[in-house]
């Protein structure tokens, strides 16, 4: 190899200048390359990159509508929206969630329940682009985070409208609640073809009215063309289509009545439904205990969820809607009506009650609740004193399918069709039902003995408190079956127009007014001296028609006597009561169930009295010691 030899300074200079020349050419070539690249990007590809820049810049952002309000018939707000700040994390923009959350904890106090709820939401809603780590921030917390926001890319403060249920537990089972849209909800929305209206929405009605009237309440999502920065934050709005707020719902519910009814239960569990017989409008709808629906709004934290679920009182159960109970003696007025309509009995027909009933040729004795019996009992008296033997006979004399045919017209054994979801239909037995229900041929047969128990509302016979109230309303109005409804009218958010939920008669049961009158008269005497609810009816200035009932929780042997005081509270009988008033022109019909309340006369009937007194007289119940299942003072 040869290396440059020194040939004197001149040739040295020459060689240097050649090298410099080469460098100059390289410089020119390199800059030329840049110029070509610039021209390529800025001239040839300009349109492409312009579009890209616009796409970057402008994003179509959904604008979530305000959810409709829910008020009672007098305008008292049950569900409203409340603007609150939340701290939200975009899981896709945060690389290490755990570290970020821990660091956030140094800026804003994060409770273990906040973290737990975040984890739960994250598991439930995959691919979410914003999940709250903390809701309802104070102004101070907002300020503290804002000062540190630069440290937390992917974490943002958002002003959100929160659903708020100002009355807490009150009427919780009607209202239901909203919750964050889950993957399952998304599937359903997609199936219904309305998923696009939920872009940007985080919440959806999950149960109760919030669930069943979701489409009315949600509103129409608007959109805005927003200029956004690289962080996705909106800088300014270029154009927008405003959202249309959800429609407001005005309920048939009378909140004051609801309050009176809820308070009347004291510490008892149970349910009460009050229906306006002329329309089917629900005036009060109680399921005790309730729960605070506000807990669900931001996604319930696992601890509270656990507590609600494991509570032995089952506060999440909507007893009025889904609780099925033996109707007990509250079925008797309907049985009486059936017996008259089907010609099985006349008002004058009288039996002699020895204290038990036996089928011809059988030794088994069906006992009356009163040892020794009631003596001579006609139809009127059978209701007033709640004679079991009379109705054993009615049951035995009526073919079960005929019985099924009649009572199902009144709404038993099928959902009433009320405007909230999840309703249970109860059970009204028939031959067909029994054949399907059991496997062994001897069990599939319908025995006359089965009918005997059905006659007094035991055996295969289950009703919901709602059904009981609805059937009572049919009896009260003389035979028109309305679909019970909670929403009175819907107020269109845009036009202010109201759309009434028209009382819809489902069917007209052909009843002989004479027979209806006979049953009603007997029910009025139930609350008068000599009747089973005489105490509850004492001094009522209106005609108070009612019927007590007791449903066994534990089965008794033939000769065993049920001793209320010896049985632990949970195994005590359920108390039932149906009522309507005033009997000559009923304005309200009630179905009441008090779980483990003992006798209908002692716990359920007084609740009815308070509700009626308030509704008909405006009389607020005086403060008296709450009904309490733990004190055995009856």
């Amino acid at each position: 190899m040869s290396y440059p030899k020194f040939h004197g300074f001149d040739s040295e200079l020459k060689r240097f200048q050649v090298r410099l020349g080469v460098a100059g050419v390289v410089v020119l070539a390199a800059f030329g390359l840049l110029a070509v690249r610039f021209a390529y990007l800025q001239v040839l590809q300009h349109d492409y990159y312009s579009t890209k820049a616009e796409d970057n810049r402008i994003s179509i952002v959904p604008v979530v509508p305000n959810r409709g309000l829910i008020t009672d018939r007098n305008g008292t707000v049950l569900a409203r929206n409340d603007s609150q700040y939340t701290l939200e994390i975009n899981p896709q923009r945060v690389t290490n969630l755990e570290t970020t959350i821990n660091e956030l904890g140094t800026v804003v106090e994060l409770l273990p329940r906040d973290r737990a709820r975040f984890r739960k939401l994250r598991a439930e809603i995959k691919g979410a682009d914003s999940l709250p780590i903390k809701t309802r921030l104070t102004d101070e917390e907002v300020a503290r985070f804002a000062a540190n926001a630069y440290r937390f890319p992917g974490v943002e403060i958002k002003a959100r409208l929160f659903r708020q249920y100002p009355l807490g537990e009150m009427a919780s089972h009607i209202l239901g609640y909203i919750g964050r849209i889950s993957d399952k909800d998304v599937e359903r929305l997609e199936a219904d073809g309305i998923a696009s209206n939920y872009k940007g929405s985080d919440y959806i009605g999950k149960s109760g009215i919030e669930g069943s009237y979701e489409r009315e309440l949600h509103g129409v999502t608007g959109s805005a063309q927003v200029e956004v920065d690289a962080g996705g934050r909106g800088v300014r709005t270029l154009a927008s289509t405003p959202p249309v707020s959800g429609n407001n719902l005005v309920l048939t519910l009378d909140l004051k009545l609801q309050e009176v009814a809820e308070r009347a239960f004291g510490k008892y569990r149970g349910a009460l439904v009050a229906i306006e017989p002329a329309t089917g409008g629900v005036l009060a709808f109680v399921s005790k205990p309730g729960y605070d629906p506000n807990l669900f709004v931001d996604g319930i934290d696992p601890q509270s969820w656990e507590a609600l679920n494991n509570d032995p009182d089952k506060p999440l159960n909507n007893r009025a809607l889904t609780g099925t109970y033996p109707p007990g003696s509250t079925i008797k007025p309907f049985m009486a009506l059936m017996a008259l309509e089907l010609g099985k009995r006349t008002p004058e027909y009288t039996i002699s009650d020895p204290g038990f009933f036996a089928l011809p040729g059988q030794a088994h004795r069906y006992r009356d609740w009163k040892v020794g019996g009631h003596g001579a009992v006609n139809l009127h008296r059978s209701i007033v004193i709640s004679c079991d033997v009379y109705y054993y006979g009615v049951g035995a004399d009526t073919d079960i399918d005929q019985l099924h045919g009649f009572l199902s017209q009144l709404g038993f054994g099928q959902p009433t069709g009320i405007d909230i979801d999840g309703e249970k239909g109860g059970l009204l037995p028939s031959r067909e039902w029994k054949r399907k229900r059991f496997k062994r041929p001897e069990e599939q047969r319908w025995y006359q003995g089965d009918s005997v128990s059905v006659g007094i509302g035991q055996g295969y016979n289950l009703v919901t408190p709602l059904q009981l109230a609805a059937a009572t309303a049919v009896l009260a109005n003389g035979g028109t079956v309305y679909r019970p409804h909670l929403v009175h009218h819907i107020v269109d958010a845009r036009t202010g127009e109201t759309r009434a939920v028209e009382p819809k008669p489902i069917r007209e049961v052909k009843l002989n007014p004479k027979w209806v009158q006979a049953v009603k008269a007997a029910m009025v005497d139930v609350t008068r001296p000599g009747g089973t609810a005489a105490q509850a009816g004492a001094g009522a200035p209106y005609t108070f028609a009612g019927k007590t009932g007791t449903a066994q929780v534990i089965a008794l042997k033939e000769n065993e006597k049920y001793d209320e005081k010896k049985v632990s509270e949970r195994f005590r009988d359920h108390a039932l009561f149906i009522a309507f008033a005033p009997a000559e022109a009923p304005k309200i019909a009630l179905g009441i169930l008090v779980e483990n309340g003992g006798h209908g006369s002692s716990t359920a009937a007084p609740i009815a009295r308070q509700v009626l007194d308030y509704y008909l007289l405006g009389k607020e119940p005086e403060k008296r010691p709450e009904l309490n299942p733990d004190s055995n003072d009856e």
């Binding site: 110029a35 800025q42 890209k52 690289a230």
Partner: protein, 377 residues
């Protein structure tokens, strides 16, 4: 009185270089004003940097090349020692060991090498001028390799590349045989071509590149195909390219760049400031800037050609070519031609250190230019 002060202030300065530098600085300040709209303090801070840089340039311009030669070895030696110190005691920031605490200041010795390296090599070749042999190129190679490797190991690939380039320019200008240069250039060309063609296989996740850090591999791979990681590493390249492309022929206008003002451009007042300029001033602006740089580089090469000594020639040539390297690598990186390495756009990017280094280089060029006629070869 005033005239004498003016003479004193402008003593030894080269009018052409100053004019070109001021023009580029002006472009830089306007662009910075737009890029740093959310922190206007940067513009005043940059003005202060410029004042300091001018002072540094003025001082450098007063030192004759012969005097400069005396600094060459000590500066290089100190720089090398500091680099070793960094490797041993250095402070880690952003995953790299680059900084040295000097009192209250943090100091990057690698920055110093950008000047020390060409100075040292030019001095070495100058001393060996009359008896250059293979041995000298080997020694020069070592002088170059040791600090470069130390810097690369920090790791600071960008600075290592610039130091390597600075040293290489001296060796090249000193007359390294074409027989050595051509095979290396050819090999590099083949290598780059292969990289582009075989991208998918080379960038396979499980494949380790011997001698490369993961992030360095990632930079090359995202350059080859930015779309593979549009939200992560590719984001810089994609958004910068969009900014340049959407600028079009005339640009979107000063302060009107949407990519810039909506924060899509990362590092927009420092390494990626060219994307801001390009978006707002378009192809026309880019060509003007290229011409300004070309003028500066051309002037530098002319000064080198007319320099009085071998040392001065090599130094002037190398400094000029470093200027070119800064400009080319930065603009190439922003427009998606080159991988993302941390190289600022000379005289435009925000930041004091690089500005002072570059102005010291300009000062040296001026000094060489002024002494051209005094010591004729």
């Amino acid at each position: 009185m005033l005239a004498r002060l003016w003479d004193k202030l402008t003593h030894g300065l080269d009018g052409t270089l100053v004019l070109l530098a001021v023009l580029i600085l002006t472009v830089g300040l306007f662009t910075l004003y737009s890029a740093a709209y959310e922190s206007p303090a940067r513009v005043t801070a940059q003005l202060a940097n410029i004042v300091i840089a001018f002072v540094a340039m003025w001082i450098a311009a007063q030192i004759p090349p012969q005097a400069l030669m005396r600094f060459a070895f000590p500066v290089y030696a100190v720089g090398l020692l500091l680099l070793i110190a960094v490797a041993v005691f250095g402070e880690v920031a952003n995953g790299a060991r680059r900084w040295l605490h000097v009192g209250v200041m943090r100091f990057q010795p690698s920055e110093m090498m950008k000047i020390a390296m060409p100075l040292m090599l030019a001095w070495y070749f100058h001393k060996r001028e009359t008896s250059l042999a293979l041995r000298d190129y080997v020694v020069a190679g070592l002088i170059l390799a040791v600090p470069t490797l130390l810097i690369a190991k920090q790791p600071d690939l960008g600075t290592a590349l610039l130091v390597l380039a600075a040293g290489f320019y001296v060796i090249f200008l000193a007359g390294l045989s074409w027989r050595l240069i051509i095979p290396v250039v050819a090999l590099a060309a083949v290598g780059i071509a292969a990289l582009i063609v075989l991208e998918t296989r080379i960038c396979d996740q499980d494949l380790n590149w011997p001698g490369f850090k993961d992030y360095q591999k990632a930079r090359v791979c995202t350059l080859l195909d930015p779309t593979t990681d549009p939200l992560g590493r590719g984001f810089h390249i994609i958004q910068a390219t969009i900014a340049v492309g959407s600028g079009g022929l005339l640009g979107k206008g000063w302060l009107e760049g949407t990519q810039t003002h909506l924060e899509f451009i990362p590092e927009r007042s420092t390494d990626f400031i060219f994307a801001v300029f390009s978006e707002e001033f378009g192809l026309v602006g880019n060509i003007v800037l290229l011409v300004l740089y070309l003028g500066l580089i051309g002037r530098g090469l002319l000064i080198a050609a007319g320099a009085p000594s071998f040392f001065a020639r090599l130094l002037a040539g190398a400094i000029t070519l470093i200027f070119f390297t800064y400009a080319f690598v930065n603009m190439g990186m922003v427009s998606g031609l080159l991988p993302v390495v941390g190289v600022p756009l000379p005289l435009v990017s925000y930041g004091g250190t690089a500005l002072v280094t570059l102005f010291v280089g300009l000062g040296i060029l001026m000094s060489i230019q002024r002494h051209r006629r005094l010591v004729q070869t």
